[in-house]
Symmetry: C2
Subunit: 188 residues, 2 copies
Amino acid sequence: MNHLKDVPLNKAYLLLNHGPSTIVTSEHEGVANVMAAAWVMPLDFDPPKLMLVLDRNTWSRHLVEGSAAFVIQLPTRQQAELTLAVGSSNGGEGNKFEQLDIRTSRAKQVEAPIVDGCVAYLECKVISEPHNQEKYDLFIAEVVAAYADERAFSNGRWHFPSDELRTIHYQAGGAFFATGEAFQVSRG
Amino acid sequence: MNHLKDVPLNKAYLLLNHGPSTIVTSEHEGVANVMAAAWVMPLDFDPPKLMLVLDRNTWSRHLVEGSAAFVIQLPTRQQAELTLAVGSSNGGEGNKFEQLDIRTSRAKQVEAPIVDGCVAYLECKVISEPHNQEKYDLFIAEVVAAYADERAFSNGRWHFPSDELRTIHYQAGGAFFATGEAFQVSRG
């Protein structure tokens, strides 16, 4: 069953606004990789942009520099073990998808695999900023496609139907928080 | 009672790693302001750097450009109403501290007020990057002092003792999530 539904691009920032941890996939010349990334956030609304900090010592960095594209996906609490596993190795040229038995599909607008079972996907094209990339390991990208699991995100809001589908927030050393209780505040 | 305890600078990123919403304070030539900011994240470990997206139409932007400094603080669930209130107005030259009856203290390393009752503070000096500031409203800064409420953060980990002291994650339209359940994942 596929619960993925397109998210309008001018609402894509809402997928990341609450600061969840992410998984990054990328591919260049037929070689793909996957890694965890906690340091991802929105940069602009429309057209949507986001930022990703991508260490120069990772294989994914090499792929993203080659392809100028990547996909940010939001793993669920069920996928926390997977998130830690893909994050704990820089991978080299080894195939983490095979080693960890990760099921994937294909992205729509960029050439890259996506990890099945995540609750949101943001396909991104890098905006070339050599100074930021070299000095800060910082990549700025435009979001060119966004879609989310409609059980967890619809009408521009997250509303997690179960603990298993909650997004997660990485602390360190294998410690995570689940996205917690929703509450509403009114403007004085 | 003051529960604030210094956080070693090389651990300061752990205050922000889980993606909480923040409040930004700044001051220039004796004029101070306060606003909410969801788009803040770490950029480097040691010396610690972070990034803040600061819209050009805000009064705080004017102050930060003048002083090259600001303070990021993490409001608690108890302060969600305050967070929404300071975020919903760009302030102009009005004094939001007085209008909203916000109690403040002084930062240690930079010239700015800090909002009392937050669970973490990161005092920052801007690293001048005119291209990023002009093109993307993006400010990169070095964290020069960090301290946190030791009831909620100690030994490099968040461990919220009560719902009231939990950090918060902004969605939109007054909707927040509290930082949720902590869980530990082991490396395969």
